[in-house]
Symmetry: C2
């Protein structure tokens, strides 16, 4: 209810407030509202900003395979993004969506932090103030789908020496992801590497059947692309070893492997100046979550403004940001837009 | 198409052949046809033979929770076996189902092996004969459901040191099951311990969410209950260690933990005699799969007759037994029934 929504409603409210105050900008101000920022039924997220930023080929985007039937047995199979958008009435060409370079003078996105740092800093401050986040970088995200093919059979009759259990192989892969990511952090004395196996499905998926096939998805992010690549190389070596020892076949599909985005120094300075003028405490920080700003950075100078969210919790029903935090973030956004629009 | 079905059709065919041949038995012969031998929507298998054998309390059976809604979003929630059977027109009391002890003089079940041993022996024999299996014991099966509760969050923003990833904990549990089972086999220089994690589900199940909860099912079987218990004790020690180190909570629900069944010596001798008279090669063997005979053993002397199935494959679409094997098994079954029915 807050991830994304705070930026949409905050952006609309910032523009309404500026208008109500009688402010007349030198440059026009637009609010862009994206759907499908999260990984979609088409396998990737940020489809809107990828198209606007020219990060995805429009013809390739139209051919993205609709995976809805994988989880919804009533959904038709074999559809593409083009089929689905056409059926929904969106019949134009995607080739016209990409924006020219430097189309916007500046791009600012308001968002909840989705992590615990701002709330911690606020709690540690003298008057338990709300601390905002000024985002200097967005970590480079990548995601992969793995299919592990073993040999299935009856859980009683297929004896242990004859097994190539796909789920045991998957378990080793899951732990290898964690081990290499912890090693990357340890080597750099940091916390900037994160990796997650968030989905797993075992086939045939019966208590009395040895899994013959497991599908899982990996999400890996880093502020440093070279370190992310090194982690993936270490994982690939483990995968070859697991394949040979367990007599399984593991295939990897790259879903996306994006480059990190850096915020524009001038917009960062403007956000800092506005926070100082308003006496609002702030923290410069890295966004470890993935945002439309990551792709808008291809066609505009960008920055992001974070507000705290309760316990850093996100992508869960108990995700929450206080009305006070949302109001404060919206105020700083509005004042920053006013400065940038008058340049 | 063969697991179970061969026994049903073979049993009917054996009786029809005996009748057609003009055979008049001293004792009546019955064919019992069970549905739901596999683990059902009510969480356990062999509901029919458990009730006939008095292994499950009829009132408890009626209160078994219908889990269909867990996999079929269109199914109603909160139903019991009693609700479902009543709606299907089966309105009688389950309390009358249990058979008296020694109700049958003898019980013989025909089944595919669901393992590779008979096919291997047949291939190794001089004329590639069909080798049948005479089952001396049914391994003791047990199954458990585990729920692993960790702490979820955004796959980018929840940093590695702050995680209690339920799927990483589940991966360790899956590998611990395998490790302890291999150790039990190594210690006894045998292959009689098998254990399988056949199902796994991660919540919330999104590529960009750290799993907060994982549910999995374990199936463990052994010809020796003490060895099975020792494996479970070793697993429990690992579970406590995983909980403490990873700050997760792991709960175990016992779905069933049955005792092994032994075949009756007289029926075994009869099966052997008939095979010898018919010059059919046979192998005495352990059934590592779980059968209705396991529970019929409570009210009757039992034995089982196995036929080979291709590559030992079962619980898969490519499960297969040759018409020749099915015919041979049915012939030996019919002749054995004739001997036993005339005693």
């Amino acid at each position: 209810m807050y991830d994304g929504t705070v930026g949409v409603l905050g952006g609309l409210e910032a523009m309404r407030s500026l208008k109500e105050s009688g402010f007349v900008p030198r440059r026009s101000i637009e609010t862009l509202i994206f759907t499908s920022e999260e990984p979609t039924r088409f396998g990737i997220g940020c489809i809107g900003s990828r198209l606007l930023g020219g990060v995805i080929d429009p013809a390739a985007a139209d051919q993205l395979h609709d995976r809805l039937a994988e989880t919804d047995p009533t959904a038709p199979e074999g559809l593409t993004l083009r089929d689905v958008r056409t059926a929904a009435g969106f019949t134009g060409s995607l080739a016209t969506v990409k924006l020219p370079a430097d189309y916007y003078h500046a791009w600012v996105e308001l968002h909840i932090e989705q992590g615990p740092l701002l709330e911690r800093d606020g709690r540690a401050s003298q008057n338990e103030e709300i601390v905002l986040g000024i985002v200097t970088n967005i970590a480079a995200p990548a995601s992969y789908r793995y299919i592990i093919e073993g040999f299935g059979g009856h859980a009683g009759a297929l004896l242990m020496p004859d097994r190539s259990d796909a789920l045991c192989a998957a378990a080793e892969l899951i732990l290898a992801v964690e081990r290499h990511t912890l090693a990357a952090n340890a080597a750099s004395h940091g916390v900037d590497s994160v990796a997650t196996v968030g989905t797993v499905a075992a086939h045939p998926g019966a208590v009395n059947s040895v899994p013959s096939r497991v599908t899982l998805m990996l999400d890996i992010r880093d502020t440093n692309v070279a370190r992310r690549d090194a982690t993936m190389n270490a994982l690939h070596a483990d995968i070859r070893e697991i394949e040979a020892r367990r007599h399984v076949a593991i295939t990897e599909d790259s879903i996306n492997a994006d480059i990190p985005a850096r915020s524009d120094q001038h917009i960062l300075d403007t956000l800092e100046d506005v926070c100082k003028q308003e006496a609002v405490p702030y923290k410069k920080m890295v966004s470890r979550a993935y945002h439309d700003s990551n792709f808008m950075a291809r066609v505009a100078p960008i920055a992001m403004l974070f507000i705290p969210c309760r316990a850093g919790v996100s992508h869960r029903p108990d995700e929450y940001a206080t009305p006070g935090s949302i109001a404060l973030g919206t105020r700083i956004l509005a004042r920053t837009l006013a400065v940038l629009a008058n340049e």
